[in-house]
Amino acid sequence: MAVGLDKVRPDKVTEEKHLVVEGMDISGHWNRMFEQRVIWDYDVDNLEKVTNLPGGESLGWCYGCAKCTAVCPIDIVGDYSPRKIHRKTQIGVDLFTSSDLWLCTTCMNCLRVCPKEVNMIQIMPAVREQAVLTGAVPPELQKAFEDTAKHGNPLGQPQRKRADWAKAAGVPVPIMKDLKRAVDILWYVGSYPAYHPRGMDAARAAARIFNALGIDFGILGIEEKDDGDSQRLAGEKGLFEMLAEQNIAAFGKYEFNRMVVTGPHEFNAFKNEYPKYGADFKVAHYTRFLVEHLDKLRPMLKKPINLKVTFHDPCYLGRHNGEYEAPRELLRAIPGIELVEMGRCRENGYCCGGGGGGMWLDSFTKEHTTMRLSERRVREAAEYGAEVLAVCCPFEVSRFEDAAKSTGNDKLIVRDILELLDESMKE
């Protein structure tokens, strides 16, 4: 909350260092007294500042039913929800400078249940865009923006190394520029699979699966850049537009029937956003694509994985794009796996915390919540007795592995579905 609008007046907190009452020592914080601030005005200017923005209008529609609060992932680890943001803005908090602005992961669970269609997926990027323009951005997020602008990926890795992961795949990974012909499938690898050590594991697994299935595919290699969707949701629309333009130009150089993507965020970008910038191609997330090839894939899945596996629905695959079945079908095809569902799954899946820029706001979010969303999620997986937490979003493997360690659930194995399939295909 903005300075001066906290519920408690900081200058009215009293505390006796030494106090004994009727023989009871209540020194220090035991006798702390607060005085609440009186609401003496409803300064609606700050609400209007939001609702006047294109995309920000619906914040003013909230009628306070609070359906959103019960499903907001942030409220479970903090004090947050669209209803609360609406009320705070109504009493004069400036969302543009409030820490609340950066906590929303755009997971969309609030919009799913909202009877008034208050749309945080539009409100947050619209307000953040203004904050970005004034430079009021948490430094770690700013660094991710700068790295993306400079290197084409938010990890700050050199563009020329974007295809280096493929060297250790053990199978051919054709690059379009060298291939010089049309392909059936253009595989957009994505930044985390290309650069993050654990992402590379999934990328290499995918390459082996595609080869085994005899897929005619190619990748863009160093011509590929980050999709920019999460940067857009974090408020850097200009950066997103630049990347969209560059990627669309790169895609346009080659002939392909369909694009397959490793990540749900990329899927969302190419399916829902890039067409606004002139893109015109078919795209599938790898889970749906592999389900189409399940008849051929199934006989190759010989090695049983005798473990209890739970699946984490990525927000941008599930709620944002309606795909809940394909990942589960792949998991069920692996012999030995016992699939268990967590309480918060499918439409009500809990967010990992990585979306909407959350991937690059780790310290900031940690400061304003009791624990990371990924930590909350890992605990839920453990509560349901899962031995493996299966994922299909490149943001998640590293987030959950870190969370498993930090919550003392070291035994929980985190694997991309690609890795599990690849493992089961081994002789």
Binding site: Y63, G64, K67, R83, P115
Partner: protein, 354 residues
């Protein structure tokens, strides 16, 4: 039959009241009802006590039915539908047909009253949140009426009296995603009435109402809301329930207590969904047959604020919930007004001919 007759479509409270009044004025009325019984939704859906007055719905409806039947100039046709309509105010030609049988009879009527009513919102359209078709113990106001009428309010899955009962307001109303942005007007009051009845029939039960806004004016406030809270100790909590989860053999309702700003997860034995009103199939069909404008939600459009029974077609009037959610008091007033307008039109026409 000549154009000295008013056609009334629908044999629920509005249609019965309009028929009785036209008969009392000494004019002719034909009342057609699609069902094989009169009394409308209160009878068909086994309502318990009516608001206001807490009278037995069956008893009150039987009085209305008897009054209409006793009228020598009121011709009641059951299992009958209107299938065609042409002409203009003072001189309509309508074709009636026995339900499920095309062969019909064509009549001349001077005016028409549409009293085709509403149906309860089907919470199946919201299953992912409230699990109406998933959990036996999640029921609707209509389901609760049936149990209350039989004086047997139980936890459906167990057959025993519940310890904890809650109502969730605004199910299917005031919701842009569902497409019903309107308030159904009566659900706050009906929930509170049922809460009182539950407390009367199961004194050991704790009863909660989770709401966004309580909308109870007039008699609802004095007869229902205040006594519910003060005499029957119904607990009102501001904050709607988002979802229902099974917890052991009970239900857990999750939401936010907004005045406390705190999350809540409260166990319940029975959850009653306060479902709103939608136009009945009959209302939608009749609007098409008569060529009446409908509003965004398919209720009959009432174009003039100063004439609350007028439709887009002169000579055709509307009464009751066919024109939008309404309680019984408003329905009866509207039926009286529609009867007066229809009868006046027929009388004026007769004078013009003479």
């Amino acid at each position: 039959m000549t154009a000295d007759t008013t056609l009334i479509i629908g044999g629920g409270p509005a249609g019965l009241e309009a028929a009785r009044l036209i008969g009392d004025l000494g004019q002719k009325a034909i009342l057609v009802e699609k069902r094989d019984a009169l009394g409308g939704i209160p009878i068909a859906e086994h309502y318990a006590a009516l608001t206001h007055g807490f009278r037995s719905a069956e008893e009150a409806m039987n009085e209305l039915i008897a009054a209409a039947r006793a009228n020598p100039t009121v011709d009641i046709r059951l299992s009958t539908e209107v299938v065609e309509c042409s002409g203009a105010a003072g001189d309509f030609r309508v074709k009636l047909a026995k339900a499920g049988n095309g062969a019909g009879e064509t009549l001349s009527v001077g005016s028409i009253i549409v009293a085709t009513g509403f149906q309860h919102f089907d919470p199946g359209r919201e299953t992912q949140m409230y699990g109406y078709y998933e959990y036996d113990d999640v029921i609707t106001l209509a389901d609760a009426e049936k149990m209350l009428k039989e004086n047997k309010f139980v936890t459906p899955s167990k057959g025993t009296p519940p310890e904890r009962v809650c109502f969730i307001q605004c199910v299917g109303s005031r919701d842009r995603q569902i497409g019903n942005e309107y308030c159904s007007k009566v659900c706050c009051g009906i929930s509170s009435k049922q809460a009182i009845e539950v407390r009367q029939q199961v004194p050991g039960a704790k009863v909660f109402i989770f709401y966004i806004d309580m909308r109870m004016y007039g008699y609802w406030e004095n007869e229902i809301y205040w006594p519910a809270q003060e005499k029957y100790h119904v607990q009102y909590v501001k904050g709607i329930i988002t979802e229902i989860i099974r917890k052991g053999d009970r239900l857990l309702v999750r939401g936010e207590d907004t005045t406390m700003g705190r999350p809540m997860e409260v166990p319940m034995d029975v959850v009653v969904l306060a479902v709103g009103m939608e136009p009945s199939k009959g209302t939608k069909d009749v609007a098409k047959i008569l060529g009446l404008q409908q509003n965004k939600y398919n209720f009959i459009e009432v174009p003039h604020g100063l004439d609350p029974t007028a439709t887009s077609a002169p000579g055709i009037f509307v009464a009751g919930a066919a024109a939008g959610p309404k309680d019984l008091d408003d329905t009866m007033s509207m039926a009286g007004a529609a009867a007066m307008k229809a009868a006046a039109l027929v009388a004026k026409k007769a004078r013009a001919v003479a």
